[in-house]
């Protein structure tokens, strides 16, 4: 029998926080680099009542997590509302149908908006359900807007749904920076919903990385020993996708040298992963990241380094030395042109 993909404590801090907020009808945002395993969090919230019951207890059925994959958004207001409607329909299939609105709007967007409002009101008032829309990968949503489209999300939280409807956003960058072009921070009531609840989605804890590797190893038929698995964990530093990439590379092309960092650093798949992570950072983060990797940090970089520590990308060793979470990424930054 294969070990489960997740332990019972998988991402417990994050899941507990999300469930707590969903129950209270409060919105929040997680900022995490690409490949940190946020899709797993989304999958658990959407499908795993067993995992959620640890945090919601008997209230699991009373909280719904419709998921919107914002990467499929067609960049129109109608498209966004349509995604919300589809996501909501996906989690309410087991419930009786919602009465149609009495007045049907001529305008497409208005019609969809009313349908959504009617459904939400029905679910919140009649069924006393909490609904937390998960907006996955919504960087472009916040960056492109327009603002009035985002404000519709706040409008959905009418008098009837105020304490029942909330949002969980996943972004790679700080949300207010993404929406700076249309003054998200100053003008958006939607942003106000979660502006005090922007959390760093850190990389895996060692236990989660070990469990992931154990699961992958068992699925593949135990090709790697304990020692190799530990080295993969060290090289990836807890980055979920990098862990998977390294595992697959090791299984396919086992290293024949003691210089593991040098060996894996030049692999295209690894470089691609490091590049994706790096280029998903803010410009200032990239600059400081480069300087950190090259040992040329300035005094002025301290705040940004603290910020990167909060993101889990930088760690402080026992000798107070500040280093990147992964020696592979550090090597990439040292040699990356810029």
């Amino acid at each position: 029998m294969v070990s489960p993909r997740y332990t019972a404590d998988y991402r417990k801090d994050e899941l507990a926080l999300i469930c707590q907020y969903a129950w209270r009808g409060e919105s929040l945002c997680f900022v995490g680099v690409a490949g940190t395993g946020k899709s797993n969090i989304v999958r658990i919230l959407r499908y795993s009542d067993e995992m959620k019951s640890q945090y919601l207890r008997d209230n699991v059925a009373g909280v719904l997590f419709p998921v919107v994959d914002a990467t499929t958004w067609d960049q129109t207001p109608r498209g966004l509302l349509g995604l919300l409607v589809n996501a909501l329909d996906g989690v309410t299939a087991h419930l009786p149908p919602v009465p149609e609105p009495k007045v049907t709007a001529l305008d497409d967007v208005e019609r969809t908006m009313r349908k959504l409002q009617t459904e939400l009101r029905w679910l919140c008032e009649h069924h006393d359900l909490r609904i937390m829309f998960i907006l996955d990968d919504c960087d472009d949503l916040l960056r492109i807007g327009p603002l009035h489209m985002l404000e519709r999300l706040n409008t959905l939280r009418s008098a009837h749904c105020r304490e029942h409807l909330s949002y969980l956003l996943f972004t790679k960058k700080l949300p207010h920076m993404l929406g700076r072009a249309h003054h998200l921070e100053e003008k958006s009531k939607m942003y106000d919903l979660f502006k005090l609840n922007v959390f760093a989605l850190r990389l895996y804890k060692p236990d989660d990385t070990r469990q992931m590797l154990k699961h992958l190893n068992e699925l593949a038929g135990h090709p790697l020993g304990r020692d190799a698995l530990a080295r993969v964990g060290w090289l990836s530093g807890g980055h979920a996708r990098l862990t998977k990439v390294l595992f697959e590379e090791w299984v396919q092309y086992p290293p024949d040298t003691g210089d593991l960092v040098g060996y894996f650093s030049v692999l295209p798949t690894v470089m691609r992963e490091c590049a994706r992570l790096f280029h998903g950072l803010h410009a200032q983060e990239q600059v400081v990241a480069r300087r950190l990797a090259r040992g040329s940090i300035l005094n002025a970089d301290q705040l940004t380094i603290d910020h990167l520590i909060r993101r889990g990308l930088v760690t402080i060793g026992l000798d107070d030395k500040v280093t990147w979470f992964s020696p592979l990424c550090e090597n990439y930054l040292r040699t990356e042109k810029g």
Partner: protein, 354 residues
């Protein structure tokens, strides 16, 4: 002899009177008035009512002051809990420059240089200041909750409410202290009173509209917010031609409505391709639906144009060929920006279900 002395004395007396009459004059100041006497251009005294002796050539009556105890009515504007209102206040006071100078410690000449009209303006300023201070004390004492309605916020200044009475008491004490500084004394035998409270049209309008909305909701509980708004607009006399669309319920096959523009009613229907509406569908015109719309019916307005889509980033390019993000070149993260991000709090395992 005696008669000669007598005549001399009379003559002397007469001459003295003539001299005095030449030097002085006696002005009679009416009851309820006083006069400001300047000596060589400077305020010397405030005298009256009754006879007042003035030296010709030296003393000059600068102005007459009305010192009757009179009722004043003033309308003063201010804000309570962010809502503007007008108070019409009534009180009694009199001008008594001598007494006011004693009470206030100011010089008589500083108080006497203003005429009655100017003094009235200063009294209004003092009343307004007393009201402002009183409102500040009221607001500090009891801040309304965030969920407080407009009525809750206005309550403290409504007459006969205890807080309004204490506001007037505060103002009375304030005016007793401050009015002497402009030469006026407050008359406590006639208490300060509010004779009128007015709110601006936005407030009264919203209170009235709120009442109408409440009544309508009670009568028509199924009415949607949009229909409610349209009906309210009609009640308030908004021009019907400005309402461009009235919405009807319809089946899935068609959307039917009416567009009103410049007083002309034009039918309009949206028919979904591939779906033929049937007679009997709610709101469908009783006629052949396959016929096209009349030419003069305008097409439905398109959605506003979206900006051109940003091409998706190609993540499958080798690291060496990736270009830096264009946006990222102009970003600067301030300490405030960096402070937005928080750590996830640690979960307490003991709170987890068994």
């Amino acid at each position: 002899m005696d008669s000669g002395i007598l005549v001399m004395l009379i003559l002397l007396g007469f001459i003295a009177v003539l001299i005095l009459a030449a030097l002085f004059e006696v002005r009679t100041v009416d009851q309820g008035e006083q006069i400001v006497v300047n000596e060589m251009g400077r305020v010397r005294r405030v005298s009256g009512p009754g006879p007042v002796v003035l030296m010709r050539g030296r003393d000059k009556v600068a102005r007459t002051i009305d010192c009757r105890n009179r009722k004043k009515t003033m309308t003063v504007s201010d804000y309570i809990n962010g809502i503007p209102f007008d108070y019409t206040l009534e009180f009694w006071c009199r001008t008594d420059l001598n007494r006011a100078a004693q009470l206030s410690g100011l010089r008589l000449e500083d108080l006497a240089v203003f005429d009655d009209h100017e003094r009235d303006g200063y009294v209004r300023t003092k009343v307004r200041a007393a009201l402002q201070e009183g409102l500040r004390v009221l607001e500090d004492a009891a801040e309304p909750a965030e969920s407080a309605t407009q009525v809750d916020r206005l309550l403290p200044v409504l007459p006969a409410v205890p807080s309004a009475r204490s506001l007037l008491s505060f103002m009375t004490e304030e005016l007793k202290q401050t009015l002497p500084t402009v030469g006026v004394l407050f008359s406590p035998e006639h208490p300060l009173a509010v004779t009128d409270v007015r709110f601006n049209e936005d407030v009264t309008g919203s209170l009235s509209r709120g009442h109408v909305v409440k009544l309508m909701r009670e009568q028509f509980p199924d009415m949607t917010p949009d229909m409610l708004m349209q009906t309210l607009m009609s009640i308030n006399g908004i021009d019907v031609p400005k309402i461009e669309r009235l919405l009807f319920g319809a089946g899935d096959s068609a959307q039917v409505g009416v567009r009103v523009r410049d007083g002309e009613v034009k039918p309009q229907a949206n028919i979904y391709p591939g779906l033929r509406p049937q007679r009997g569908d709610p709101g469908v015109w009783d006629g052949p639906m396959a016929t096209p719309l009349p030419e003069e019916s305008p097409a439905p307005q398109p959605l506003p144009a979206m900006p051109p889509p940003i091409p998706p980033r190609d993540d499958n390019v080798l690291a060496a060929q990736l270009e830096p993000d264009e946006d990222s070149q102009v970003e600067t993260l301030t300490p405030a920006d960096l402070a937005v991000l928080k750590r996830v709090p640690l979960f307490d395992d003991s709170a987890k279900a068994a």
